[in-house]
Structure formats: structure tokens, C-alpha cells
């Protein structure tokens, strides 16, 4: 009994004991590896392949940061985190960066002392119902049984939505997407709700996707983005601008294919600044001039990452939608590199 207490306390205190002070960049460099928190496995966003190599959209962010900082996109230690463990892992310094479909909210940013470095996926919560129910709007769902992935912001949005519309529902909390899917298909719940991207991915995996409709209501904003600890502005800047570099690269037409050619120097001064041939933005970050070149070469620009992992030609099959560049009617907009 005593031993258990000691071990338990050791774990709690051990986690806290490694809290990194300012200087994550030095820690990462000294370690030679970036510790990156990801999901325990969500195909398209972060999942290990048959050889144990992590792959996915969120993984792409980790690799880009590792490439920018350490010069090696494979110098990443992926730490799978669950909805429950993710914030503790980050706060305790177990990971340097959390890239895990995490919604940017006020309390997470302010109260939990984290720093969201940007948004890599704009999402919103939706509802999916079997077509046979004949429901065309979420407001007709009075009395329905709703399956939810518990411990996410979706749970709160759901409560708010039904409360605001003065209708009742029966929540069925389920821990993971994999568990919720059979329950929904067997009819143990009438409705399945989660982020619209998740609904699309889930529906695509069904035998008859056509039998299910995603209702038009999107009841929340779910800006998903990577985050770091509060208080290390240098590190936050590096990660933030690495993400921005991926987005800017798409906007400027820099891809993993033509980057070698472009980094020799171009007519466009912004590309030159991004790729380090003009000014020295990398130096301001405490890195070298080639940081963005390495980040972009790691997995391609934002658009390439999207198409490769979750785009329309993948089984996930998501269209760019809100995640298109601002120039294409989407919301992706990065501050200028100057």
C-alpha cells in the first residue's frame, strides 16, 4: 500500500518536476528530438502506418517543426495522448508541442496557460442521422438519442444547442469514434454528433454512406490548432511561424517539388524572404536562414499536406471548404513574411 502511494506521488510529482522553463528551443536542440503530442490514432490526422511510422495531417505539423529546428523531419518522438492526458502532457513538459485536433477556446488559452499558435483546420460541429428518420433539420431532433464523443467541446455545444432551442435529448456518451460508430449503425442512438470533418470521415467508412445525411446545421466553431506552453515566446514564435510558413508556401506557390529551384532566388521578394535568400527571418527566430525551406520540404506546403492526408482523393475525402486559402474563398490567411 505504502509503495503504491509513493509510486503514485512520484508519477504526479515526476510529471511536474520536468516542467520546462523558458528555453524549449535549447531543450529540443540538446535532446536532438522534438517531443510532439498527437492523438492515439485517427487516420488522416495522426496514425502510425504498418511500419510504425506516424503519418497524417497533424503529424505533418510536427515534422515541419522538427525539420525547421533540427534539420531532420524524422527527429520527432510522437507521444500519443488521449483527450484526457493531452493538456497534462503539455503542461508538464512531456511534450514540446501538441498537434492534436484541439479546439482553441478561451479557457484553454487563458486559464490553462497554453498558447495556440494558429489554426490548421477550421471545423464545426454537425449532426448525422439515418435518412430513414426523415429529419431535415437539427431543430426537429426533440427527444432524440444522441451519441457524443465525450470529453470534447462537442458535449458543451450540444447541451447549449438543445437548451437554446428548448428541446430535449438523451445523451449517450462514448469515449472514441470507433465505439460510437457501431452504436449509431445498430440504432442505439438516432443521431451522431461530432466535428463535421469527423462526420464526413465516419460516413465515408459506412457500407451505404447514402443512407445517412449530415444535417445542415453547424452548431459551433471548432478552430483546431497546435498549441504550446504559455511563457516561452521564443518557442511559440518558432512553431507559429513554421505553421504560417506552410500556409504562406501554398499561397506563394512554393511546393515540395519546386522549392529547390525557388530557393536559388526569385523575382518575388516575399518568396525570397520566406526561403531565406533575402533578409534573415530565420536568424530572428534563433534558427538559420533555411528553416522554412526545410519545414516545407518535410511534407510539402499546407495544401499538399491537406491533399495527401485528408483531401478529396483520400478515403477521408474532405473538401477544402473553410480551409481553402483566403484567395480562394476560405479562411486561411497568414500574416506577411516581412
Amino acid at each position: 500500500m505504502k509503495r503504491t502511494v509513493i509510486l503514485g506521488a512520484l508519477t504526479v510529482a515526476g510529471m511536474a518536476a520536468t516542467v520546462a522553463s523558458a528555453g524549449t528551443l535549447d531543450d529540443v536542440k540538446a535532446r536532438g528530438k522534438l517531443n510532439c503530442g498527437v492523438t492515439t490514432g485517427l487516420v488522416g490526422f495522426a496514425a502510425p502506418d504498418a511500419n510504425g511510422n506516424w503519418d497524417g495531417f497533424d503529424v505533418g505539423v510536427c515534422r515541419a517543426v522538427a525539420a525547421a529546428v533540427l534539420g531532420d523531419p524524422t527527429a520527432v518522438e510522437f507521444v500519443p495522448t488521449t483527450g484526457k492526458t493531452r493538456f497534462t502532457a503539455l503542461a508538464s513538459g512531456e511534450i514540446d508541442l501538441l498537434a492534436r485536433n484541439t479546439t482553441w477556446t478561451f479557457s484553454r488559452d487563458v486559464d490553462l496557460k497554453f498558447e495556440f499558435i494558429g489554426i490548421n483546420y477550421y471545423d464545426g460541429q454537425g449532426f448525422m442521422v439515418p435518412k430513414a428518420l426523415g429529419v431535415s433539420s437539427a431543430k426537429e431532433l426533440d427527444g432524440a438519442t444522441v451519441c457524443i464523443q465525450t470529453g470534447t467541446t462537442t458535449e458543451l455545444n450540444l447541451a447549449d444547442f438543445f437548451r437554446a432551442n428548448n428541446i430535449s435529448y438523451e445523451p449517450v456518451p462514448i469515449e472514441t469514434n470507433a465505439e460510437a460508430q457501431p452504436l449509431y449503425l445498430e440504432g442505439a442512438c438516432d443521431v451522431y454528433t461530432t466535428d463535421a470533418s469527423g462526420l464526413a470521415a465516419t460516413r465515408a467508412a459506412f457500407e451505404n454512406p447514402g443512407d445517412h445525411v449530415v444535417l445542415p446545421e453547424i452548431i459551433s466553431k471548432e478552430p483546431l490548432g497546435p498549441l504550446v506552453r504559455h511563457g516561452d515566446n521564443e518557442w511559440a514564435d518558432i512553431t507559429r511561424w513554421t505553421l504560417n510558413a506552410l500556409i504562406a508556401a501554398e499561397e506563394l506557390g512554393v511546393t515540395s517539388a519546386n522549392i529547390e529551384e525557388l530557393k536559388a532566388g526569385t523575382e518575388n521578394p516575399e518568396i525570397n524572404r520566406l526561403l531565406g535568400t533575402e533578409d534573415n527571418l530565420g536568424g530572428m527566430l534563433g534558427l538559420d536562414a533555411d528553416w522554412a525551406v526545410r519545414a516545407i520540404s518535410a511534407g510539402g506546403n499546407y495544401g499538399e499536406l491537406f491533399e495527401k492526408n485528408i483531401g478529396e482523393n483520400t478515403p477521408i475525402g474532405l473538401s477544402r471548404g473553410l480551409n481553402a486559402l483566403w484567395t480562394n474563398g476560405g479562411l486561411l490567411y497568414t500574416p506577411p513574411f516581412r
Binding site: 505504502k2 502511494v5 509513493i6 506521488a9 512520484l10 504526479v12 510529482a13 511536474a16 518536476a17 516542467v19 522553463s21 483527450g83 484526457k84 492526458t85 493538456f87 497534462t88 503542461a91 479557457s107 484553454r108 486559464d111 490553462l112 496557460k113 430513414a132 428518420l133 431532433l141 426533440d142 427527444g143 432524440a144 438519442t145 465525450t150 470529453g151 470534447t152 467541446t153 458535449e155 458543451l156 450540444l158 447541451a159 447549449d160 438543445f162 437548451r163 435529448y169 438523451e170 445523451p171 449517450v172 456518451p173 462514448i174 469515449e175 465505439e179 457501431p182 452504436l183 445498430e186 440504432g187 442505439a188 442512438c189 438516432d190 506552453r229 504559455h230 511563457g231
Partner: protein, 404 residues
């Protein structure tokens, strides 16, 4: 003549703390305790300091803020505007509900199986052995998932009851067994129902009094009164009589298919049923072994002696063997109850909102206050476990062999 002199009173010397076996163990325990306290305070201080360095603090303020999420099963009033504290209490009550139902059911199944495993009937004893071995040796989480899957996959869903060519129908037009749970009629208490309830309560008290009387007769005069049939009769007859005399004040509300679900009646969610059932059949396998061990611990001579007095086998079991076996059975039974209660924290696997689901799940996630929530969770479980252990030990003291 020899005189007895008192042995000289030994004065306590400091070196005895090390050299005298009487004191040495205390000395070392005291040193160990000091080390433990030092270690714990070091770890605690380290935690607080590091949290402070990260700009965080240990704060339980969130307990008073609105939780913002809904809980499907609640034994007390709760909505999404209630506080996190209330959500935690809802979770505690749900945990206790599963624990109580599960312990009762596990005990009943466990005792029956344990006794049957010792049956002379080869088939029965082997079947029980198979049951015990299968359930003991597969993790309880797997059983919970299997039971839930069976419920969801085999039972019809509300949609199957709908339409003209419905594939499922209600039993007796009043019970619906669906993959979402069981619906049954709910009694509605009208005017005059108090008399019926009073009659019911009185007849229950009557049963206890009668059984006490029967026991007294048996012990004092050796006269054996029947207890089973009179108890059944006392349980049913007066209540039914009063019910009709009072003009049937209690009516039933039947579940009806309305909208997406059945409405009305009593609804027992499949998550609750599946969890309780899985936990109790799992724990029952362990209890069965405890019961078997307890019975085997009683000398065979007791059975033979009782048989030679002309007692029938079930009387031998009830009057001679089980009362003696209880003192062997109860202490391990306490730990099985504790196990069941703690295993109920696997509830989230079937979407049952127990303490781990509310405080340790959603609240922890929404507030991000992991250390605070986990500490509180440990405190709650510790309290529940110690309470169960305490109550059961009181019972153990009541039934254990009285030595005079």
C-alpha cells in the same frame, strides 16, 4: 525458606531502541514514517513550486462553476447549468447505484454457483466450474463490452417497433426490450394509494416478526413452523386486498412509442443494465469460489452429524453449513465488493456516467484541471471503499463465531 524477590525494574535506556527487539521494530517504523513524510512533502512542494513556475495553481474554483454538459442518468435534479460539483455528486450516486445493484446480484449468483459447484450432480458441478473459470480468467472490461454488444446487436431498436410491418413488438403491450434499454410500466399513485403502501409496509414488517417468532419456536420448543409459504402469502394477500378495497388507487403508465423513442413508463438504460450485469457475473465467479472454499472449510463430519439427526440436505446447508462457512466467506467477500465498486469505473466503455465519467472524464476534460480532479476522484473512491469495508466488517463481527 526462599523469598521471592521482584525482578529488578529495568530502566529504559536509549540503546534499547536499537538493541531491544521489543522496541526495535517501533524505532524502524518511526524512521520509515519520517522518511515517507519527508519524501511526500518534497514531492508535494516540488509539484506546487513547478505549477507556480508554469503560472498554474491548484484551485478547486471550477467546482462551483456551471458544468455545461448533460448527463442522461441522474438520481438527483441536474441540468447543464448545474455546477461541476453537482455533476460529480450525480456521478457518485450513479457509481453507488451500480455498486449496490451489482453487489446484491453478484452475491446471489455467487452463492448459488458456489453451492452448485459442489453438487453431486456431475453435469451441474462441471457447468458451474466452466462458468467460474471462463468468467474469472477473462478481463472484466471485455465482459462489459461483450454484454453491451449483445444488448445492442440482438435486441430490437425503437425503430423496429415502428410502422405497420414492425419487426418487433412489446411484451404484453407493456414491456419493451430494446437495444437502448428496458421500458416497463410505471405506477402512478392516485388518491388513497397511501393506504395500500402502508398495508404493504406493514405486511413486510409482519413477515419479519413472523420469522422471528418461527425461529424462537424452533430454538425454544424445537417446533418447526413453515416460513416460506406464509411469507409469500403475507407479502401478497393483504396488499392486494387493500388495493381492491381502496378502489384501485394505483394505476400504471405504459411506455408508448412517441417521436424517436418510447416515452413514459420506467426506463432502465442498457448502459446501466449491461454494466451491472457484466460486473455481477464477473464478480460472482470470484464469490462462488469464496463460497466453495467456505463450505469446504467446514468439516465433513458436520454434514454427517446433521444428516444422522435426520435433517434434509437443504436444511443441512442452511442451518449447519452456511452459518459456519460465513466466517470464512465474508472477509474475502468484502474485497470482492470493493473490487466490483472499483471496477465500475470502467463504465465509460458503455457510456454509463459514473464518477469516472463525470468528474474524472468530462469535468476533467472541460476544465483541464487534471491534478485537482484526480485527487478528488481518489478521495471519493477511497471514501466509498472505506465505507463499504467498514459496513461489511460490522456485519462480519455480527456473524462471526461467537466465542465465550
Amino acid at each position: 525458606m526462599s523469598t521471592l524477590t521482584d525482578p529488578p525494574v529495568e530502566s529504559f535506556r536509549l540503546s534499547q531502541l536499537i538493541n531491544d527487539t521489543r522496541y526495535r521494530s517501533y524505532t524502524f517504523q518511526f524512521i520509515a514514517l519520517l522518511c515517507l513524510i519527508a519524501l511526500m512533502s518534497y514531492l508535494g512542494l516540488n509539484l506546487v513550486r513547478n505549477l507556480a513556475a508554469a503560472g498554474l495553481n491548484i484551485s478547486y474554483d471550477f467546482l462551483g462553476k456551471p458544468a455545461g454538459y448533460d448527463i442522461n442518468q441522474r438520481l438527483i435534479e441536474y441540468d447543464s447549468q448545474s455546477t461541476h460539483m453537482r455533476a460529480a455528486v450525480v456521478g457518485v450516486l450513479n457509481t453507488l447505484l451500480v455498486a449496490v445493484l451489482g453487489c446484491v446480484m453478484a452475491t446471489v449468483i455467487g452463492v448459488i454457483v458456489g453451492v452448485l459447484r459442489l453438487s453431486k450432480n456431475w453435469l451441474i458441478s462441471k457447468l458451474m466450474a466452466i462458468y467460474v473459470e471462463i468468467f474469472r480468467n477473462v478481463p472484466v472490461l471485455i465482459w462489459i463490452l461483450i454484454v453491451m454488444q449483445v444488448f445492442v446487436a440482438i435486441l430490437p431498436q425503437p425503430r423496429d417497433f415502428r410502422g405497420d410491418n414492425a419487426t418487433a413488438s412489446m411484451v404484453l403491450d407493456s414491456f419493451a426490450f430494446t437495444g437502448r434499454g428496458f421500458y416497463s410500466p410505471k405506477p402512478i399513485f392516485g388518491d388513497g394509494s397511501a393506504i395500500v403502501i402502508a398495508a404493504f409496509v406493514l405486511s413486510i414488517i409482519g413477515i419479519f416478526l413472523y420469522r422471528a417468532h418461527a425461529r424462537k419456536m424452533l430454538f425454544q420448543k424445537g417446533q418447526m413452523l413453515p416460513t416460506f409459504w406464509p411469507s409469500i402469502a403475507m407479502f401478497l394477500v393483504p396488499t392486494i386486498l387493500v388495493f381492491f378495497l381502496a378502489g384501485q388507487p394505483i394505476t400504471l403508465e405504459y411506455p408508448e412509442l412517441k417521436g424517436f423513442n418510447f416515452q413514459g413508463g420506467i426506463f432502465a438504460r442498457n448502459s446501466l443494465i449491461a454494466l451491472t450485469f457484466a460486473l455481477s457475473i464477473y464478480t460472482a465467479a470470484f464469490i462462488a469460489e469464496n463460497v466453495r472454499a467456505g463450505i469446504l472449510a467446514i468439516s465433513k463430519g458436520q454434514t454427517e452429524a446433521a444428516a444422522s439427526l435426520g435433517l434434509r440436505p437443504n436444511r443441512i446447508m442452511n442451518l449447519v453449513i452456511l452459518p459456519q462457512a460465513l466466517r470464512v466467506i465474508i472477509p474475502p467477500l468484502i474485497s470482492q465488493y470493493l473490487n466490483l465498486t472499483k471496477n465500475s469505473s470502467l463504465a465509460i466503455a458503455v457510456g454509463y456516467m459514473d464518477l469516472t465519467g463525470t468528474l474524472g472524464g468530462i469535468t476533467l476534460n472541460q476544465t483541464g484541471r487534471a491534478i485537482e480532479c484526480v485527487l478528488l476522484l481518489m478521495l471519493f473512491y477511497l471514501t466509498i471503499s472505506l465505507a463499504i469495508s467498514g459496513i461489511m466488517n460490522v456485519y462480519n463481527n455480527a456473524v462471526k463465531l461467537k466465542e465465550r
